[in-house]
Amino acid sequence: MKIENHISDILQLYEFSMAIGKSLNYKESCDVFLKLILKRKNLNAAWILEYNENQITSRYSIPLGQEINHNPNPIVSELLNSIQESKIIDSNSIIEDISPIDIQNGTVAIFSLAEQGFLFLFSKKDNLKTKDLLQLQPVINKFSVGLKACKAFSEQQQLLNNLESRNQELSDYAHMVSHDLKSPLRSIDTLTSWLEEDYKEKFDKQGKQQLHLIRNSVEKMDTLINGILEYSTIAKNQIETYDVDVNTLIEDILKIIQVPNHITITTHELPIIKGDKYRLQQLFQNLIDNAILYNDKPIGTISIGANDKDGFWEFYISDNGKGIDNVYFDKIFKTFESLESNMSSTGIGLSIVKKIVNLYGGNIWLISKLNEGTTFYFTLKKH
């Protein structure tokens, strides 16, 4: 009979332990485990208090009760500090003071949950004995580890939510500021073009040069603002994906950009991929623009191709241009980080490229040698 009781105890422990860790939500996790204990041991209530020298706070109770959030009095502190693992006591005024539920006569088992506080189990009918403490202690230790995981998960979720919200705010801000900046810029552009036309006879050579510089700067700022707008809207709308033939896409790009005569662009057989044509065009066009812009050779060559890599396509755009020192490999993908002061460079093109690649779940990197050229690689998932 004794052995049979031991087997029952062990199997019950198995049932209790299997109820731990079924959820990473603190309340759900407590519900599953503690309601099971209340049912199987025929108990009436359970609650968890978090405790430090200055504060005692209720985190959970079944049944629902009043929130506890106050300074622990010395008697409560003495009681809680005396609990190394667990203790059974008769319900008394001290316990009533730290119970979210109205309890009167009965027995309370208190378990230490280490940094997670204390678990209280209450029975109106004396259903808690020392053997219950011994039986439940290991499983409650495991439960306390589960609670720690729940809290860590909740903090992580909170951080992610905050991050998402901050990103959204930043993106909205960039969008708004860009729009607001465009209006005065258009005015400056219009006024300078009037000046150029109406006073062309009165400006001397230096005046004409300065006016030209103003208009170039306005143009650069317009390009920059457009870049910021594009950057801030990349992840804003849902991506529609459909089949895009990259061969056709590159042909279309080459029709709209100006390729200098000394540069030859070679395209190898490119795949049909799933994506959104507008974003893919932004991606390839930025990289091709850069390859042209930073090519200092009398005979420039640019090569575009792709390799099939199981679940994704690996694209490359290779040039024989100036090359990039490897200390700048990370810097160039950061917003507004341009390696040289160039009227055509806004420092946002590669940020847009990286953001689009990331949006499609891919990676981007480069290999480069100064004065010999650069190859940008990026991956795009096949599905």
């Binding site: 029952s8 198995y14 519900d31 025929n42 009436n44 079944i62 049944p63 539920i101 009918k125």
Partner: protein
Amino acid sequence: MLITSTNIEEIVSAISNHVKDNSALISLGEHTEINIDELISKLNDAKVTFIGGLFPKVIHGNTILEKGIVINTLNDVESLFLIKDISKKNYQVPNMSFDNNHEYSLFTYVDGLTSNISHYLSELYEHYGMQTNYFGGGAGSLSLEQNPCVFNNDGFFQDAAVGCVMRMSSKIGVRHGWNKVDGPFIVTKAEGNVIKEINWKNPFQVYKEVVEAHSQKVFTDNNFFDIAKGYPFGIVKENAECIVRDPLMVNEKGELICVGELEDNTLVDILNGNQESLINAAEMAAQESVNQAQNPRKAIIIDCISRILFLEDSFHKELTAITQTIKRKYPDVSIGGALTLGEISSYGDGFLDFYNKTVVVGLFE
């Protein structure tokens, strides 16, 4: 009060006169030949507030009836409620404020064939806790086809529960009388009311081995329930009788379909009972409530329909054992109730549970 008339006007008049300004608990035998929607409408016209359920059989005094309406007066009602979508767990239990100087009793009828009844009971306990006693049963048809089976002033519903909180003391006795044959076993896989694995093995094989050895009977293609009705499972519980789960049928995969839900890793025994143990348990349930009561006005019996399927012609002995135990001490107490698809109470004031094959006797003061 028992009403046997099928004339709606007469029924409404009888209920109205019986409960006066109080609310009514209406327990209907499933073969009662009345239009329930019409009854609800006419009771609304008469401004009678009520909750009710449809059951395989109802109890009045020492009689059980398939046809008939048993009325109990619900006095000192604090709140009547209807909760829909029990299976979807998508509802809020109404808020209640309890006065610590009074005792309360909560009575509920729930669709006994819906899923997630345990969640409903857990929600009730989570919100009302130890401030009230709990008492009730599962409504529905013996055909086990799910149809509307609970009602109140708002209509006739399935997948729902109706309830009433009264400022009234109640004394409750709960017993079943099924005893352990073998166990414990672990239900290593379960889904709702289907046991998919016991001890990591096919559940029917495990069950069959124990039951055939004990009963000296052999399961064939068409005698599962005939044998299984005498061998329910018992969910192991300390400090109280186990919670019974009734295996109803075995499917082609050897999974056992029960009345009532089980969860993964539940510890169960296989139980058996006989006429004597069941009737003794029923008497003990009645005695338990009688011992605690002081001045009861009425008794409500919630007895599982499967006990009548097991006891057959001897069921009247169980009912007599209950009614005589009550009448011996309280001869003037009115006795009503129902044979239900699952019973609701809290053993010894503990956490709320949904039982099968059990008798719950409540004396209301």
